[in-house]
């Protein structure tokens, strides 16, 4: 019987008796404007995801150790640690010189960390130049369809010229035309003369994928200037990928410095930098293995740190993982 009654009530929603069952809700203007969900902030979400990754924790810890080491250790360097000392040439590790001495009798421990400071600076500057030039050219390359044919040809050409030939030529031209230029500036020019190409190609491929999305088509239809579209529509989308690339590029630049030194077109052998110190060690490895192994350990630690951070960043900066 009850079922039948209910049915009747449902069939007659306008029944006057029902009004007493409902209490009207008070309308509160401020309450209705309040959004209970936490506002989504991209960078906050990145931070939240980042600190949860084990790679990020290890990476941040080792990065802190690295930065502290290259700031603090040079302060404790004794007098004449980087002066050649004939009495201490190839001295084995001892209490006085914990990592031993190199082929010029310099203190290997302090040389490694002072050199690392210089190498990191050089790597940072050349990576930054590569990233900025590569991103801007890559954006233009991907956005303007007419540029594509020419740039692909340029890419094919330059990537096929042996890099050692280019470096030798550059070293020669710079030595002749600018004799007073510091060798560090020459190294940065060598590292950046073709380094931007790879990044430009990478940015171009990403740009091609997103230029035909609706929001970009809308901007183009509304007559937004190309430069504004690149800066406001494309660049923010690409920024996470570019930052990840930067963190992977820095150790790559240090490795390039090492191989440039190996082929004799890098910094002079007497310079205090990771590349120069490591290459001195390579020549002495058979008889004095510590001269290679300690700088190699420092280099491995740097690559390890940046690789971990890059790995964690690439995960954290992906908006799909922000849930």
């Amino acid at each position: 019987m009850e079922n039948v009654e209910n049915k009747q009530v449902l069939e007659n929603p306008n029944d006057q008796n029902l009004d007493s069952l409902f209490v009207p809700v008070k309308i509160d203007e401020t309450e209705s404007e309040h959004i209970a969900a936490e506002p989504y902030s991209y960078w906050k979400a990145v931070m939240r995801t980042f600190i949860k990754r084990p790679a990020a924790i290890f990476g941040t810890i080792s990065f802190t150790i690295l930065i502290l080491a290259i700031i603090i250790i040079p302060f404790f360097a004794p007098e004449g640690y980087d002066a050649s000392n004939t009495a201490l040439i190839h001295a084995a590790p001892s209490a006085e010189r914990i990592w031993g001495s190199d082929l010029m009798g310099r203190d290997l421990f302090f040389i490694c960390f002072v050199g690392l400071r210089k190498s990191l600076w050089l790597a940072l500057i050349s990576s930054a130049i590569n990233i900025v030039v590569g991103t801007l050219l890559g954006l233009a390359w991907g956005y303007f369809k007419k540029l594509d044919r020419i740039m692909i040809e340029v890419y094919n050409l330059i990537s096929n010229v042996p890099s050692l030939l280019l470096y030798m030529l550059l070293a020669f031209i710079l030595a002749n035309s600018f004799p007073e230029m510091p060798s560090e500036a020459k190294l940065i020019i060598s590292l950046t003369c073709t380094g931007w190409l790879g990044i430009a190609l990478f940015v171009r491929n990403q740009t091609l994928i997103i230029t035909n999305r609706e929001y970009n088509v809308a901007s183009i239809t509304l007559g937004t200037p190309a430069f504004r579209i690149m800066m406001k529509n494309l660049l923010p989308y690409l920024l996470p990928i570019i930052i990840t690339q930067l963190s992977l590029l820095i150790p790559g630049m240090i490795s390039s410095e090492v191989s440039l030194s190996y082929f004799g077109v890098g910094l002079p052998v007497t310079t205090v930098s990771v590349g120069a110190v490591l290459n001195n060690g390579i020549a002495q490895f058979t008889l004095y293995p510590w001269e290679l192994l300690w700088p190699a350990a420092v280099l491995a630690f740097v690559i390890f740190t940046f690789y971990l951070i890059g790995l964690a960043l690439s995960d954290a900066m992906d908006p799909k993982k922000h849930r």
């Binding site: 030939l165 280019l166 390890f304």
Partner: protein, 379 residues
């Protein structure tokens, strides 16, 4: 009467076949790619020749020797210098400088594939050694430092580099692909974690240092670790001595492959067809090996021709440290000798560029074979 008709028909059929081939998109695409690669190659030759021209004349003769001869006779010294420059292709037989455009044009004619004869010439200053005339299709020049034609130099050294690289590729894929699959099976699981730690640590090792340490451990009796010497220094007659260099390259090469296998497989695992297969009750292994792997391999397969053809180039560090007479050493030797060996530099550049262009084309073609969804368009 009958026979001529048949012949005509045959001719018409052949003509139609050719016509169909020209309508075929893939064929048109290949023709277009080959032509544009040839164009790039010609531009590359021009660029490299011009770049080498930027090197100063003093790089091509020994200044000390010049001064020594000039001490006795200035005329003799100048004659000696112009002869050196002639051998380097910078001056003609009378000592007049050769224009850059002329050398570029001559080199392009030399590498264009048509049947030609290069006339005989002298290879040294005193004109005692005669270089026989050369006939063939692609002339890459004569290497002065190796005293042989560039094609012969590369052909004689290619074998060992190619053999090492072949084993390296086979073993890298043999170890890296299963590792990637095992890691992708349970993202975040124990295997995945161990694999990730291995990859990160492996990436951190500087390659050159690793090769040197391995050489001292396994091959060098007089090295830092001579007490642990295994006597595996490279020896042509003992194939076993190739194991350590191959191990080195494979070990350092595994992460680069595994990490991509893992990533592509994880990307595929979230797609609809996998969910469908799972809901139909297929076993996890069946899904992994017959459905996911096949799709995940598409982007990886594209690189295989590049890896195989790149094998001819060889690895500089490995060949240098293990003293293996392969092609990897040639370019550095040509660039860093007493005088740069121009013909060898240019020849190697052309060959490497041709290899990379061919392997990209082959990569694209293999991708079509693997993935019927992808189609090439000539425009």
């Amino acid at each position: 009467m009958d026979t001529t008709l048949k012949q005509e028909n045959k001719f018409l059929v052949a003509l139609k076949k050719v016509g169909r081939a020209f309508k075929n998109q893939t064929f048109l695409y290949i023709v277009k790619r080959v032509l544009s690669s040839l164009f790039t190659l010609v531009l590359l030759v021009a660029l490299v020749t011009a770049l080498i021209r930027l090197l100063p004349d003093t790089k091509f003769y020994d200044v000390a020797t010049y001064k020594k001869i000039a001490g006795t006779s200035k005329v003799m010294a100048n004659r000696w210098r112009s002869m050196q420059l002639f051998l380097a292709g910078r001056a003609d037989a009378n000592g007049n400088p050769v224009p850059v455009l002329y050398s570029i044009g001559r080199y392009i004619l030399n590498i264009l594939p048509y049947y030609k004869t290069i006339p005989q010439s002298w290879t040294d200053y005193s004109c005692t050694t005669v270089l026989e005339s050369w006939t063939g299709f692609v002339y890459l020049g004569y290497s002065k430092s190796m005293s042989s034609y560039v094609t012969n130099v590369i052909a004689s050294r290619m074998g060992i580099s190619f053999r090492i690289s072949l084993y390296t590729i086979i073993f890298s894929y043999l170890f890296a692909v299963p590792l990637g699959i095992a890691m992708a099976k349970k993202p975040g699981g124990t295997v995945d974690k161990i694999g990730n730690v291995f990859i990160v640590l492996n990436y951190a090792i500087p390659g050159l240092v690793f090769y040197l340490v391995m050489w001292d451990v396994l091959g060098n009796a007089n090295g830092a670790f001579g007490w642990a010497n295994f006597g595996l220094a490279y020896d042509e007659t003992r194939p076993l001595t190739l194991v350590p260099p191959i191990f080195c390259i494979v070990f350092l090469g595994i992460p680069g492959i595994s990490i991509w296998v893992r990533r592509f497989m994880i990307d595929e695992l979230s797609s609809d067809y996998v969910k469908f297969a799972r809901s139909k009750g297929l076993s996890e292994n069946r899904i992994m090996y017959t459905h996911v792997l096949r799709n995940a391999m598409v982007p990886l397969v594209r690189n295989i021709p590049a890896t195989f053809l790149g094998a001819i180039i060889g690895s500089y560090y490995v060949e240098k440290i293990w003293t293996i007479p392969g092609t990897g050493l040639l370019l550095v030797k040509a660039l860093q000798g007493v005088t740069p060996d121009i013909d060898l530099i240019e020849g190697l550049t052309v060959i490497y560029a041709a290899i990379s262009m061919v392997s990209f084309l082959l990569g694209d073609l293999i991708t079509i074979l693997f993935d019927p969804r992808i189609k090439l368009e000539s425009n």
